[in-house]
């Protein structure tokens, strides 16, 4: 199978990873689209380095996070408004759940790019060792950061919603 065909087949199967990263890092549809394109291109450029030593999904996560973290938009002059309409709708449509989820999304949107990467990998059930390998830090550092992020999220979430 030609490399391009093989890449498209794998990407097609795992494109939800890029969608997830774009949703976490971008808050408007055009920005999300731009990042999706950038991640796809970066993945294609470095596809030759994928030797199947790790799973394609793990490899794609690494590419997507590297791209998202180094992807800077020009600073907007106006105040930053977090558009919660763009966030995914909660699966369970209870008003309480919806409010809670929106509050948590708002809190995640306020996190730094590194913290977003940690949250992203954490919600994907990667171990601290794997997260550390992907980010280039020790598992102990991951654990410390996760404790801090969880507490930050709890605090921020309470600003938007009283659980």
């Amino acid at each position: 199978m030609p490399a391009e065909q093989e890449f498209i087949t794998l990407l097609n199967k795992h494109q939800n990873i890029i969608h997830k990263v774009c949703t976490i890092y971008m808050d408007t549809a055009p920005d999300k689209e731009d990042l999706f394109q950038e991640v796809t291109l970066q993945a294609w450029k470095s596809f030759a380095s994928f030797r199947g030593e790790s799973q394609f999904s793990t490899w794609l996560y690494r590419v997507a996070l590297n791209t998202a973290i180094t992807f800077f938009r020009k600073e907007k002059k106006q105040a930053i408004v977090i558009n919660t309409d763009f966030f995914p709708e909660p699966v369970e449509h209870s008003p309480l759940m919806e409010e809670q989820t929106k509050a948590l999304y708002r809190a995640i949107a306020e996190l730094s790019k590194i913290d977003k990467a940690l949250v992203m990998l954490y919600i994907e059930d990667y171990s601290y060792q794997d997260i550390g390998d992907m980010l280039g830090i020790t598992p102990n550092n991951v654990a410390v950061k996760m404790i801090r992020i969880k507490s930050k999220l709890k605090e921020s979430t309470q600003k938007y919603y009283q659980f």
């Binding site: 498209i8 180094t70 995914p88």
Partner: protein, 212 residues
Amino acid sequence: MELDELKYQLNKKLDADQPKPASELSLLLKKATTSVIHKLQRSLWIDLIINMLVLLLFIWQALFNKLWSLRIYFSTFIILSLIALVVLIYLIRKIESLNSTVLPVRQNLEQIYKIINFYKIICFRVTMIFIPLCLMYALSLGYIEGKSGTSVDYTIVIQKLGSKIWMVLAGIILYLSAIGAGVYYFTKWFLDRLYGQYLIKLKSLIEELETE
């Protein structure tokens, strides 16, 4: 726990997200990347092409100029252009190797920072060093050539100027200072505008990853 609650919500929702068809993914591969490192790579290629064209001009001048001082002057610049060529090729290859590998986030950030910072420092230093160096070198060669009788003899010019020589010297110094200051601030502003903010952001990301 709130985060674990989100995990379920987000994964469920995104898994049900409208996927792009394979044909659209194929089209994306034909588009151009907008990353800063790619822009730097493009700048380096342009620098490389300009450098090679200038090198040809220098070789022409070094071989066929009537004045031996200018032949020496341009010969020196052939060597400097060749050094610049090596540096440019090194940087392009470094970026190509970075593009074709997938490093952990921290190492990736450090590599990008190193490459851009190296380019910024080299550009600034070369610009700053070359202005006085070129002027001094050109004046010295011109003076020696004038003494040998094949060009204008500056000692005769100085004698003719008499007491006005100080005014001429003051004018030259003022002119060079203005050029020097202008180039210094322009180069600094230009490089900062291109890469300054990006480097600050990269540095802060690296520091954030390093701290526990």
